[in-house]
Subunit: 326 residues, 2 copies
């Protein structure tokens, strides 16, 4: 299982490979949020999302002879890029199984990071059958996107940095808002903060219609989403909390927060305008919650993770047209 | 005069107030540049540009009783915001004299940082007469945008960080490309690197038609631009190198680099796509030079400063429409 020791080991392996992303702020956003708002800019991480942390952690933790045969992953995009670049920099083969309706940019980038991309049709194909056949034939190791202890440990390194950066700013108590799909980033950050900054409490953030973690935390058991696609927040549209991640999040997290797609798009526009960073809608739901759910938060500070910035220009234009016309 | 001691003193005063901006990279940009490209993301600095460093340095260096009477600055936008926020956080009055055709966003932001904005018409009004009258009436201290030792020292703190970050990546020799208007950032960074990383050589970067520093470095004396406005790179459209900055830059800098407006816009689009940051055209000329003047550079690494990100949405849309259509 993942614990602080495993997270620290992942941090050691990531040194010199991943970016220590900055904690950004803006007086303009403070005014909207009604408190000091801090954004951990993981969109600036290599591959444009925090997923490189988990990908590198998992690939670097493999035994060399196992790693040499290669790795495989299922992903609609950000985990794909994180694993692909980690494999490329380790000099090992990589196959990524992606849905054919994944954002074009994410498919192109995954290929550019040297991975062999195999597309499947979400409605017709059996994704697992395709992946299992390739993996067993070539002896590839599967890197799961969140229900994998070394991946959770890698995402937890983001939490170690948040603990350090909060201390630098004198923040002892705050809600830490995390964009939540399967719950790997949420669990890793929650474990890191439990050990290093116990006054910081993780709150998972999700878009309407994909609030499986919020509902699961409320009911105490794993709940599923009715839909699996059809959201601008594709990066965090997962069927349900993970079997490994949910028990961690149930133990450590506060109640989930849910925002609308419009609020996520508005957060994309405000991140562009006020923080000078690019967030995708799924990577902006925590910022949206910090800005637009102020009555559900407590304290003088709120920290939110901007988890990724890989979006097609059409969606970015939509956010600007609707919320940044000037 | 500005020297390394003054820069270190400015760095001390800036601690806990300015952001240590990250040095970003992307394999995609490395391919275009033909070498490892590193971007110092000053657009993430408070107020969206490096100018906050110089503004804070100058305001914080004033004697308390002088500072209490307030400060005044002339600026088309980024220096305005830097000085305004520095004054606001010191709790002192601030007047900014801005041209009426400055980007709307910069005028609005300057006001939002608590400054009193006085607009003048570039063609009809005598800017200095307006500013001098207000300053003498109220006892305000003028904070010049570049020909001011404490401002140069503040901008030099960006160079101290580049020296540290280059060392972390094992970079001992490289060209450091700096977006250059009046030459304050160029001079400050050059002085810092002379002392802390002598293998790093500053190269000023400018847009076509506003290449006064490149021509001045070539001729050995101060040359002027024919035009003073009418460029998308408004942030760095200055009449000529400064009387204080030019001797420093003449002594320390390599030859200047000149890019077209189209190349600057393409760099804006690539920074969005590959680095997930927002640059304004004037803040992207150094990145453009790193990408599109590779034959004029030497070595395995190039470091460029992305100096600012305050642009109106219309210009950003233009960059995306032309160079990021997907």
């Amino acid at each position: 299982m993942t614990d602080i020791t495993r997270i620290e080991a992942a941090a050691f392996r990531l040194q010199g490979h991943a970016l220590r992303t900055p904690l950004l702020g803006s007086d303009f956003l403070n005014q909207i949020a009604g408190r000091r708002l801090w954004l951990k800019a993981e969109c600036l991480q290599l591959t444009g999302s925090f997923k490189f942390r988990g990908g590198w952690s998992a690939v670097s933790a493999l035994e060399p002879e196992v790693r040499a045969r290669g790795v495989i992953a299922y992903s609609s995009g950000n985990h794909a890029q994180g694993v692909a670049l980690a494999a490329q920099r380790h000099g090992v083969p990589c196959v990524i199984i992606m849905p054919s309706d994944a954002p074009r940019l994410k498919i192109d980038n995954t290929r550019a990071y040297g991975a062999e991309v195999v597309l499947f049709d979400r409605d017709r194909d059996d994704r697992d059958a395709i992946g299992n056949a390739i993996a067993s034939e070539r002896g590839l190791t599967l890197i799961k996107p969140y229900d994998e202890p070394e991946v959770i440990a890698g995402q937890g390194t983001c939490g170690l940095e948040i603990a350090e950066q909060a201390a630098e700013h004198g923040i002892r108590e705050a809600d830490v808002l995390v964009c939540c799909g399967g719950g790997g980033l949420t669990a890793g950050v929650a474990l890191a903060l439990e050990s290093r900054a116990p006054g910081l409490r993780v709150r998972p953030c999700e878009p309407e219609g994909f609030d499986d973690t919020a509902r699961s935390l409320a009911s105490g058991q794993i709940e599923r989403n009715a839909r699996l696609s059809g959201t601008l927040c594709d990066a965090i549209a997962t069927p349900s909390p993970g079997a490994i991640t949910f028990p961690i999040n149930k133990r450590l997290c506060g109640p989930g927060l849910v925002v609308s797609e419009d609020e996520a798009l508005q957060a994309v526009a405000l991140a562009w305008l006020r923080l000078k960073i690019v967030l995708e809608p799924g990577g902006a739901v925590a910022l949206a919650a910090a800005l637009f759910r102020r009555e559900s938060l407590a304290g003088d500070d709120v920290i939110c993770i901007g988890s990724g910035g890989n979006l097609d220009t059409a969606i970015f234009r939509m956010a600007m047209d609707r919320f940044a016309s000037a």
